[in-house]
Subunit: 562 residues, 2 copies
Amino acid sequence: MLRSIGRQWRCSAAFQCHCSNPVRRQQPLAPSSVERAFSTTVGQQVKAQQQQQQQLLQEQQQQQQMNKIDEEVSRLLALKAKLGGDAAPTNQKFTLKTPKGTRDYAPQQMTLRQGVLDKIIQVFKRHGGEAIDTPVFELKEVLTGKYGEDSKLIYDLKDQGGEILSMRYDLTVPLARYLAMNKISSIKRYHIAKVYRRDNPAMTRGRYREFYQCDFDIAGTYDPMLADAECVKIVAEVLDTLDIGDYVIKLNHRQLLDGMFEACGVPAKDFRAICSAVDKLDKSPWEEVRKEMVDEKGLDGAVADKIGEYVRLSGGKELVEQLLADAKLKAVPNAVKGLEGMQLLLNYCGLFNLESRVSFDLSLARGLDYYTGVIYEGVLKAEPGAVGSPVKASPVLENGKPVAADQGSGTVGSVAGGGRYDNLVGMFDPRGKAVPCVGVSIGVERIFAVLEAKFAASNVKLRTNDVEVFVASAHKGLHEQRLRVLNQLWDAGIKAEHSYKLNPKLLAQLQHCEEHQIPLAIVLGDAELAQGVVKLREVSTRQESTVPLAELANEIRSRLKA
Amino acid sequence: MLRSIGRQWRCSAAFQCHCSNPVRRQQPLAPSSVERAFSTTVGQQVKAQQQQQQQLLQEQQQQQQMNKIDEEVSRLLALKAKLGGDAAPTNQKFTLKTPKGTRDYAPQQMTLRQGVLDKIIQVFKRHGGEAIDTPVFELKEVLTGKYGEDSKLIYDLKDQGGEILSMRYDLTVPLARYLAMNKISSIKRYHIAKVYRRDNPAMTRGRYREFYQCDFDIAGTYDPMLADAECVKIVAEVLDTLDIGDYVIKLNHRQLLDGMFEACGVPAKDFRAICSAVDKLDKSPWEEVRKEMVDEKGLDGAVADKIGEYVRLSGGKELVEQLLADAKLKAVPNAVKGLEGMQLLLNYCGLFNLESRVSFDLSLARGLDYYTGVIYEGVLKAEPGAVGSPVKASPVLENGKPVAADQGSGTVGSVAGGGRYDNLVGMFDPRGKAVPCVGVSIGVERIFAVLEAKFAASNVKLRTNDVEVFVASAHKGLHEQRLRVLNQLWDAGIKAEHSYKLNPKLLAQLQHCEEHQIPLAIVLGDAELAQGVVKLREVSTRQESTVPLAELANEIRSRLKA
């Protein structure tokens, strides 16, 4: 049964990860109680559900009454205040802020962000991607049953007598809904948009409740690994072009993981729990993970030790060969299929010159329920002390628990990830018609955080607008002349501005140009205007020359080119 | 008192207009009852409010109980279904759709949309705009009391034990919140983002519940009309660059409207209702508007006739002169101030070469509560029968009433609008510190609708990706060679794709190129590869030439330039 199929980041990624926290896994919630129906008596559950229903109903009614009464009381107080004669509009008394886990993007952040997105889009287009967009909310039913426990992180809208709506949790489920709804059986699409998760924000580490995802997905029935390998290539191209530090792309295969668990003797019902433990290997040493498997999850110690031998392996083609010859794995069809897939993928990665970038890593687990084949993750390597090194693990709470420092794995953060998910579109099709998909999601918020830190450490001042020319007055009474010149420049497509004051001081105008790094300034004066010329000033050198008004646009264009 | 300050479109605009429907104005709602407190006894209201509160409480509790019970019943049924042994994941049974009033953007629509937005951004940047972004939801309190009656159109989020949030209704209130919160006293910012209104959608006419706004605003304390005139210039530049047909920019002034009503003898308490009637003059003949004023709004017939004389006036500078000499208006300080403002604005519009584009129009009313100075609206002129003519008024319901056809005013749709709002930021500042603002909002959804209609009427096939080269196999067994060539092209920054099949048919590959208008194709064959060359095919002419593999990227680049 599918339980968690959002494209998710590992905890090590320090952002948007909800897949492997054991504390949360252990708390029984409504959706997971449905799942547990397989192992306990459903009859008991029905009874428990009925009791819970009674209690919930009472509690919620009380709360709703309280809210409603509070609201009405406020309204009454407002009206009564008017009786006192205070009719002036009062200023708001609440603290001005953005909602928890969200932020404004100031012009400087927007400039940085747009630069990152432009580069990512360039890569996506280089691979033939088409853009789509979907509404920010979906019918709640579209999202229901797609994210397992994490469903509780979905933002629901108030039912105001219309449809029941929820805000999108990722871009993958909307894509699947779009493909099934429009009966599209193949597409290469990219989608860059905000998604919403009511998670505990860790904003200093790039984890928000409202954040951007940049997804590229290839849907269609194709020959094995050709599209998958291209997605890995896309991750490499994006990380290369963004130049945010050395990285590795870890690769693994869902079928191999399942086969390996089977070969080691893990009971099928425990695959998920054991996988979730494996998922922590990039933060915790094996001893801790083993302890969790045996003590918390009841795995036989000998079975855990067998897993331990495998999951500590990473390498390239030679590792695949070695495992294909492994007696235990050879006996399990899923393991062989997974390994053959890895062999083909590594071969294609070789043709794409990615040998030094990829690492076949048996500890890579990711959101297992979601993926049906290849999984991969782009991880920034630690560059201690270096300017531009990824944001350090800080003592921030993640899901309410302090985050463990990096345990010597040499990596600090996942900035991209994805894999193959062949069954999601079929869940939306009335006849279950599947459209195989493979995709990648770039973790741009974390990339923004890295770049913002890098930028703050540098002394470069970022320009937040593109103004090419400032039109200044040398003395009073020239505002109409300024407007005429501005109009001439705008009509010629030149980016120009002026002070919105009738008689600004010349010094203030020139200072504005230097502060805002505007390359050129035009200084108008009566003496020059009488001769049909203006002064053109190069702001950085403060050199001025005289240019005829009629040639101004051309002269500016050639100056800007130089 | 401010009541409705979202940037709003007139009903004639056929999209996102909520400002002037008399039916809705007459329904007393909680916010408007506060306002009426000035003219009726507040004591009575308090009593009525208390009664209303009782009734509301009962009704809502009943509804909430029903919802809760329905939900729990569904959960029980789901559990009981499991008792029957049906454990397989079932496909969804609900109708696959996007929420009411929303739509997906398919690749073709995205291409069109991105083209429009790019052009608009270019104009915004030409005027020195910086970008900001704000969260898609705000604390409900930020939006409360800003939109008057239209508050009921705001999407609220469910209270899930956190903050009470609402989705943004426009981009103007978030800007004001941003400026006040960050104590920013001047900025030129643009913001292009989706906003949300739970309105009756009229999607064929470009009116949605989720739609884009493209706003440019100039905040700061400046000399009169300099920033205002630049906003008018921006509207003209946007409409020119989008080339969607002939247009006019109507101009008017809030103070002049108020002054004119005063001069005609409208009681101050009726200004709003009469304004709302004036707002309909672009759809209805004067006789109907007069009828509404007199019969529905109880205005003295003689007063209405005086208004009728003014609101039918439109023109240029000469009209301002004429009105400045008008005995009735001369006596009203507001009217004189408004006219002097118009005089200055028209003077500046002249310097910007906009004489033929602007029209001083006394019937322009817009969302009056919001604006404090200049108001303007860019309106497409009707071009009956012409390809690319604006979307015709169709028999679509608007706020539940059939929309009247265009009444010979020669215009069919507002595609831009804005004005000056000097009091909004101060509403967020604890000490009420004002930041004067003027801005413009481009109605891109309507522009998309116009362009989509124009495009559908043409026979042009829009390209939805940018692929420059397709890499094809002439025969079997060449997929690894294809991947090598693709890698070479991608690394050289060339946009390239291939079939994701090991052995695709050559004809199918070449057809794909022609269908998708890919300019170039590379055809790989063993014979050529043995000599280190490939065939490069110009798809439109089907001409092929032989190019050495080593020179491929350069050759492709020079072909693409040509």
